[in-house]
Amino acid sequence: MWNMKQLEYGALARRANQIKDELRQGVRRPYKEVIDVFQGDLHRAGMKPLTFVRQVLAACVYPPLINSSNLPLDVRQRAQEELGRCVGGSVGSYSAAPGIPEIIHSISEFIKRRDGGIPSHPENIYISPGSQWSISNILNVLVNREASPRTGVLIPVPCHNKTVLSITQLGAVAVPYYLSEEQGWALQVEELQRALESAKGVCNPVALYVINPGNPAGYVQSQKSVLEVIRFAWEKRLFLLVDELYQDRVYGENCEFVSYKRAVSEMGPPFSGTVELASFHSVSKGFSGECGLRAGYVELVNLDPAVMKYIHTLFSKDACSPVLGQIALDLMTDPPKPGDPSYLLYKQEIEQIRTVLLHSVKKVHEVVNSLPGFSCPPIEGGLFAFPRLHLTPKAIQKAKELGLQPDTFYCTRLLEEGGVFTGPGWEYGQKEGTYHIRFCIAVPQDIMEELLRRLSSFHMTFMKDFS
């Protein structure tokens, strides 16, 4: 399914960069700039960093700023606090391998608050340069390269391709389970069962990878679904790898994010004491959107203490996570509180982002569903729209002639003619004969309006050309 050899890796991205360069040099195109919504990158898409976060980081990087009256008092105090936790008082020194202890404590408190008081133990938390780094490390422990049959990991379809790449690079087998598009991308246990059965004789599945809220599909798993998956994993003896990067991105009115950790605990014995779980979070996708700082963490639940020792050594040889990223994580899990000088502005900026997202979610759903040959379920959570393209046989034929996947063809044309850089569904996996595109919706209102205008215009032309 994810035929790595065929993946024309980064071709679309290279073309997007080329076009951006051309525009910078003054080449005339039907648009003045490329709307880059290919990645879940808030800042690249035009959203602003949070002022408090950046002020604290600046003061940590250049401590003379701590004495500057131009920065609010709580910023200066917080920077001082953070520096106090750094060895030698500098963000340039290594931290302990799992992360700065006080920040790990902060994360454990954050998790505890989020999960209604269920304790989170600091020694089960590791900070890494982005969540993919810890996902790779945990997969590395799970995948026995010398085993025959090979280790298998169940993967949702659609799925962002980083984890899939990690799995295949470790010599393991990615076993796809299809999310049900008709059911709003629901995860159905029967489908998990089918996937498991398909693995018989091919590989030995040891883990089940779940993304909640979803990427690229914008679903939020119902509580019932979460519990069913946990029970399935427990019964079939699968290690649960849960990607919860978008836990702060929930829009649907009847949707609620429930962490797998919480659900496991609430299920009580025997599940609460035995389901082995790794949940991942990051500073990249929350309100601060600090993708470039590279900071994520994993919380490990119910793991064998003997194995934990080796996990510790594995993280140790990586030295440590970038300290600025760790501080950004701390600011995310322990933000300004009411009464703090920075609180009002902080709250205002968060609200602004939230408003923009809610607006985007509505608008995208409206506009996409109004176009012929284009449909999209309500975006319940996450940072992307993953609408379905109903392409005509003519369009599919043309794509074939060009040696492209049909949705790659669509995205290529959308980039060239419409100046919008999106991702083809093929790169994330989809049911045979279906086509999608993915684009980030965390975009300022005016840019979203322009995006939708260009998309509509392009789409109508495209559908007409290939009718």
């Binding site: 950046r54 290594y94 799970l142 883990a207 594995l314």
Partner: protein, 511 residues
């Protein structure tokens, strides 16, 4: 937003429904084994060790905790001379670098007149190259293009004009990241055909850890302690031909200036190594993160790239090589930023395509680290306002290190039972300790390697944390420890004095 307790009730209700259905299964469970156990886990991971942050450091942390809780010990602080972390030992960051990084972090400061114009210029240029003008945006996986161009220009300047192609530069999360990435590309094959990687003994244990993790075959070649830890081609040949019996040697790693040994290889030696690599068809990995840390008179850093090209097209067109650099060492000491790069030479284009894929999995290296690297390769020039301060700070750091290198060698060589090669470069000393047989026996009794026993005792009695030589590799029957020369000069003198006292006392105890 529903209240927390409501979620709990709903979950519990749902959970009851679901768990009821499997009550029979539940009843049958009492000794349900875990999915991930010592037996089922990746066996390679069990072979991974990393002494620099290993058991001795865990003990040091434990002691620090006890001190904090008011325990009485013969010392009031633990001196962590185990890790090459300059800032941890009080070295100050370079002002200019931190100013630019602060401007990048919070661009509103660009209006602040307290920041010099050259810092602002650098910051604006870096931000211009970032998505959304923010260091919080992902960069391209290979690293920000204009920074790679700056790195290439730096390499050209350093190497007397030999061209460097920005496409061959890959920015990384510290040099370690790039080293592991290249090893991932190189390690393959099964059984007798499994890739063998030559690494110096003693070595920086990232290499042995990575090789264990990847299931590669580690091929040890011994540096010559009696000759200032120099590298002998005869020794390389010996190691290689022995290795050919049981694996497929494909890679030769060299750390120059050396870690832990501190030797700076002569130009002749580097030529010999390159010649050897060509003859034996080996991929060269040149770890050059200490390239600015050269102290001894008569020693000079020669980059592998430069020497390779100066040997002519017969070599420069064929030898495949990767050289590594980082922002963690030299005069910057910015370990916490995780900045680094590698330059690859003569890499097969198809392999390069796989390399891009590999680095894309983790998205991109930390952007602040990339920005910092840009400043390292593009520092203030003589005609710029920050130049004077920059040069003053840089010179101060490097000359302090040179002084400490000299001091360390001098003092250690006056201690009976300790012999110390000159610290020609890098940041460490790797002295040899003579242990009385009784001490070796005692160590055995306790199930410890003799130099671990020595270091543990030193830690417990003097509060000094070093890394035993066994963590780096050493000739059978010899014992060493690695100590950093990073503590401030006055503190270093105290540390050296304490180690001398300990050595004398330890020798007496086990005589």
């Amino acid at each position: 937003m529903k209240s927390m307790s409501k979620i709990t009730l709903q979950l519990q209700r749902c959970a009851r429904d679901i768990t009821n259905m499997s009550q029979q299964a539940v009843n049958g469970v009492s000794h349900r084994g875990r999915v991930l156990t010592l037996d089922s886990m990746n066996p390679n991971v069990k072979r991974v060790e990393y002494a620099v942050r290993g058991p001795i450091v865990q003990r040091a942390v434990q002691i620090e905790k006890e001190l904090k809780e008011g325990a009485k010990k013969p010392f009031t602080e633990v001196i962590k001379a185990n890790i090459g972390d300059a800032h941890a030992m009080g070295q100050k960051p370079i002002t200019f670098f931190r100013q630019v990084l602060a401007l990048c972090s919070y661009p509103a400061l660009l209006e602040d007149s307290k920041f010099p114009e050259d810092a602002k210029q650098r910051a604006r240029r870096i931000l211009e190259a970032c998505g959304g003008h923010s260091i919080g945006a992902y960069s391209a996986s290979q690293g920000i293009e204009c920074i790679r161009q700056d790195v290439a220009r730096y390499i050209e300047k350093r190497d007397g004009g030999i061209p460097s192609n920005p496409d061959n530069i890959y920015l990384s999360t510290g040099a370690s990241d790039a080293i592991v990435t290249i090893l991932k590309l190189l390690v393959c094959g099964e059984g007798r055909d499994r890739t063998g990687v030559m690494i110096s003994i003693p070595q920086y244990p990232l290499y042995s850890a990575a090789l264990a993790d990847l299931g590669a075959v580690q091929i040890n070649y011994y540096l010559d302690e009696d000759n200032c830890w120099s590298l002998n081609i005869t020794e390389l040949r010996r190691a290689l031909s022995a290795a050919r019996e049981h694996c497929n040697p494909r890679v030769l790693c060299i750390i120059n200036p050396g870690n832990p040994t501190g030797q700076v290889q002569s130009r002749q030696c580097i030529e010999d190594v390159i010649r050897f690599a060509k003859e034996e068809h080996l991929f060269l990995m040149a770890d050059e993160v200490y390239q600015d840390n050269v102290y001894a008179e008569g020693c000079q850093f020669h980059s592998f790239k430069k020497v390779l090209f100066e040997m002519g097209p017969e070599y420069s067109n064929t030898v495949e090589m990767a050289s590594f650099h980082s922002t963690s060492k030299c005069y910057m000491g910015e370990c916490g930023f995780r900045g680094g790069y590698m330059e690859v030479i003569n890499l097969d284009p198809e392999v390069k395509a796989q390399l891009i894929k590999l680095v894309s999995v983790r998205l991109c290296p930390p952007v602040p680290g990339q920005a910092l690297l840009d400043l390292v390769v593009n520092p203030p020039q003589p005609d710029e306002p920050s130049y004077a301060t920059f040069m003053k700070e840089r010179t101060a750091v490097l000359s302090a290190l040179a002084e400490k290198a000299r001091l360390t060698e001098q003092i250690f060589n006056t201690v009976p039972g300790i012999t110390c090669n000159p610290v020609q470069g890098a940041m460490y000393t790797f002295p040899r300790i003579t242990l009385p047989q009784k001490a070796i026996d005692k160590a055995k009794e306790l199930g410890l390697v003799p130099d671990m026993f020595y270091c543990m005792r030193l830690l417990d009695e003097e509060g000094i944390c070093l890394v035993p030589g066994s963590g780096f590799g050493q000739r059978e029957g010899t014992y060493h420890f690695r100590m950093t020369i990073l503590p401030p000069t006055e503190k270093l003198k105290v540390v050296l004095q304490k180690i001398r006292e300990f050595q004398l006392h330890f020798t007496q105890e086990f005589s």
